[in-house]
Each structure stands twice: as structure tokens, then as C-alpha cells.
């Protein structure tokens, strides 16, 4: 998931991490939200955390994938965000 580092890839990677964290939360609690710190920690684990641009990258998905993005707050997925999250998960399962 973090292997691709072409232009714009970082933004997509960090967004995908947020979508996957939301999938995990959904499976655990039934809520389509991604905990801010959990997203950050997973980005660090996957070596794709960009502290200077992390919030800005996620904000670019605001209104499309995410209902709202605020530093330190849980990120709630929109309808298209849920679909995108399912696609990211399906891609992971398929080994992409």
C-alpha cells in the first residue's frame, strides 16, 4: 500500500490508511469513523507519515470521502468514502 511514491501518491496512501482504519472501526463498533491518532500511528508504521502535510492531504478528501477533517478529531466517512474504503479493503485482499 505504501510502495508507490509517484507524485500525488503520498496523499492517496494516507487517505487509504484513513479509509482502512475506518473499516477496522466499522468492524469493531459499527461506526464508519477513523480515529485521528490511529491513522497517524498506522502511517508511521507503514513509513508513509508526512507530518508537515498529513492534515492537508486528508483535508483534500473532505466533502468527498470524509464528512469533515479536523486535527485530533475522529474522521467520519461519507457514503462515497465507505464505498472507497470497501474498495481499498477488497484491493488488499486481492493482493494489490
Amino acid at each position: 500500500m505504501c510502495g508507490d511514491r509517484r507524485d500525488g501518491a503520498d496523499e492517496q496512501i494516507q487517505r487509504n490508511v484513513a479509509l482502512l482504519v475506518a473499516v477496522r472501526t466499522y468492524l469493531a463498533t459499527g461506526a464508519w469513523t477513523a480515529d485521528w491518532s490511529e491513522v497517524k500511528a498506522l502511517c508511521i508504521d507503514l513509513n508513509c507519515y508526512d507530518a508537515a502535510n498529513h492534515a492537508a492531504y486528508l483535508r483534500k478528501g473532505e466533502g468527498k470521502y470524509f464528512k469533515s477533517v479536523a486535527v485530533g478529531k475522529a474522521i467520519e466517512l461519507s457514503g462515497p468514502g465507505r464505498t472507497a474504503a470497501e474498495q481499498v479493503l477488497a484491493g488488499l485482499i486481492a493482493g494489490q
Binding site: 480515529d35 485521528w36 497517524k40 500511528a41 508511521i44 507530518a51 485530533g72 475522529a74
Partner: protein, 273 residues
């Protein structure tokens, strides 16, 4: 404990300041009071952050001591003003070198720990429903949950719920509550039989002597919840009692989450505050 976002903000200012110091030569820096003041402010701010981090016990103490030492050097003065740029750069570089790996990342890892995530989720779920006195108990409960003390968390969450019941009874008035007790005592089937021989209640101390179970039974008349809702509340009380007494009950995080969800549904979102 400072959040990782707060630490990242501090780190951004530190790197900006270091870049500014690097750009300016010693002579220019000596005459730039704003930069000197910014360095002092940053150093003071670090020492405050360091105290809070030390109390939390997340970051290695040797790292904090190292950063404290360098930031302290920035506070006490630069000595030879001709070498001010070197002095600032050396100490800022030393902190910069350790900061991300040894300070920010341990804090991020701590924040992303499943227990911390669950605690934040529970707080977000509870907050909109709680009054200030209830919140005091809930906050203590969440501190317990964050430290994996789930039994203590359950007991304190129930205390928040009882605060709601007591407050609601006081708002209805003690005569109304006493009447509900008397009406309930006339019924012949369980659980109403548990309310027999109760004296009327006329004050808060007397209400505090009434068992929680009795309040739950009388609550069917006071707040119009049915027997199924009562049974759920009675099970929550049983969970609380199991958590408060020695035994084999060992609630897991998911048990606490379920307990909280049910408390919100049956008490905080249902019984008027």
C-alpha cells in the same frame, strides 16, 4: 499529557527557528531581538511540555533529560555573542535529532493504543448526554478504562448513572417518588415485591439509602420504561455488582463498551437530566 499534534506543532516551530538561525550570521543574530526572544519562548515552552511528558511516563526519561539540558542552555544565555548562531544551532540541532523518533512517535503510539482509542470513543459517545456531576464520575471511569482497570471503570460508570437517577428523582420531587414506591409495593409479582416495606423518602440522604435496585423498579412507574428495559437495567446493575466484589468476573474492553452503550440507551438518553 501533551497530544502528538501539540508536540508536532512545537517541532514545526523548532525547525523553522533553527532554519532562521542557520540563515542569519552571528552578527545579524546578535541584533535580532525577536529571534532571541523566540528561542527563549521555545525553550520555556519545551520545559513545560517536558514536565507534562514526564508525568505521563510515555517518553524515555533520558530523552527528556537530554532535551531539557539543551533547551536549558538556550535559556541561560549564549555567552559570547559572536558565536550566538553556533550556540543556538548546536542545541536546536541536538533536540531536533531526537525529537521525532524519541518524543513524537512514542506519544503517537500511545495515543493509538486500542485502550486509548476506546477511551476516546467512549468519551465521545458519553459527552453529549452527561451533566457536569455525571461527567465527573465518567471521567474517572475513563481514566480507569485507559489503564485497563475495567472493573473500576464499570463501577464508576454506574455511579454516573445513579447520579442521573437521583437527580431525576429530586426533580420529580420526593413525594412523587414515595408514591411510586408505595404503588409498586402493592403489586404481588417479582420484581415489584422487592420494594416492600420501604418508608417514604423526604430528603437526598434518605434517597441515598434506597438500594439502586429499588429505584430501578420504581422507575418503571416514574419514567414509564417497560419490564424488558428494567431487566436490561437490572443486568447492568448486576454487572456493576460483579465488578465491585471479588470473584471470577473479568470484564474485557468490549464488555465495558457494551456496558456504556446500554447505559447511554437506557439511562443517559432516556431518564431526563
Amino acid at each position: 499529557m501533551p497530544s502528538s499534534d501539540e508536540l508536532e506543532d512545537f517541532y514545526r516551530r523548532l525547525t523553522n527557528l533553527r532554519a532562521q538561525v542557520t540563515q542569519q550570521g552571528a552578527a545579524e543574530l546578535a541584533g535580532d531581538a525577536a529571534v532571541v526572544q523566540a528561542v527563549v519562548t521555545l525553550a520555556k515552552e519545551w520545559l513545560r511540555l517536558s514536565q507534562r511528558l514526564r508525568a505521563a511516563g510515555i517518553v524515555d526519561l533520558s530523552t527528556l533529560a537530554l532535551c531539557d539540558g539543551h533547551m536549558g542552555e538556550l535559556l541561560v544565555g549564549r555567552g559570547d555573542s559572536r558565536r550566538a548562531d553556533t550556540h543556538y544551532r548546536r542545541h536546536l540541532n541536538a533536540v531536533d535529532g531526537a525529537f521525532t523518533g524519541a518524543v513524537i512517535i512514542p506519544v503517537v503510539k500511545h495515543e493509538a493504543d486500542p485502550r486509548q482509542v476506546m477511551t476516546r470513543d467512549l468519551r465521545a459517545a458519553l459527552d453529549p448526554h452527561l451533566t457536569a456531576p455525571e461527567k465527573a464520575y465518567a471521567e474517572e471511569a475513563l481514566k480507569c478504562v485507559a489503564e485497563a482497570c475495567n472493573r473500576a471503570g464499570i463501577v464508576l460508570l454506574w455511579a454516573a448513572a445513579v447520579t442521573r437517577f437521583h437527580g431525576a428523582v429530586e426533580r420529580l420531587g420526593f413525594p412523587v417518588f414515595s408514591r411510586a414506591l408505595a404503588n409498586t409495593a402493592t403489586k404481588r409479582a417479582y420484581p415489584f415485591t422487592a420494594v416492600r416495606d420501604r418508608n417514604p423518602v423526604a430528603s437526598r440522604p434518605e434517597l441515598q439509602r434506597v438500594p439502586d435496585f429499588t429505584i430501578l423498579v420504581a422507575g418503571m412507574e416514574l419514567w414509564n420504561y417497560d419490564l424488558q428495559a428494567f431487566n436490561e437495567l437490572a443486568r447492568l446493575l448486576e454487572t456493576r455488582n460483579n465488578a465491585a466484589h471479588p470473584g471470577m468476573a473479568s470484564p474485557r474492553p468490549l464488555d465495558v463498551q457494551h456496558f456504556t452503550d446500554k447505559l447511554i440507551e437506557r439511562v443517559f438518553a432516556f431518564i431526563p437530566a
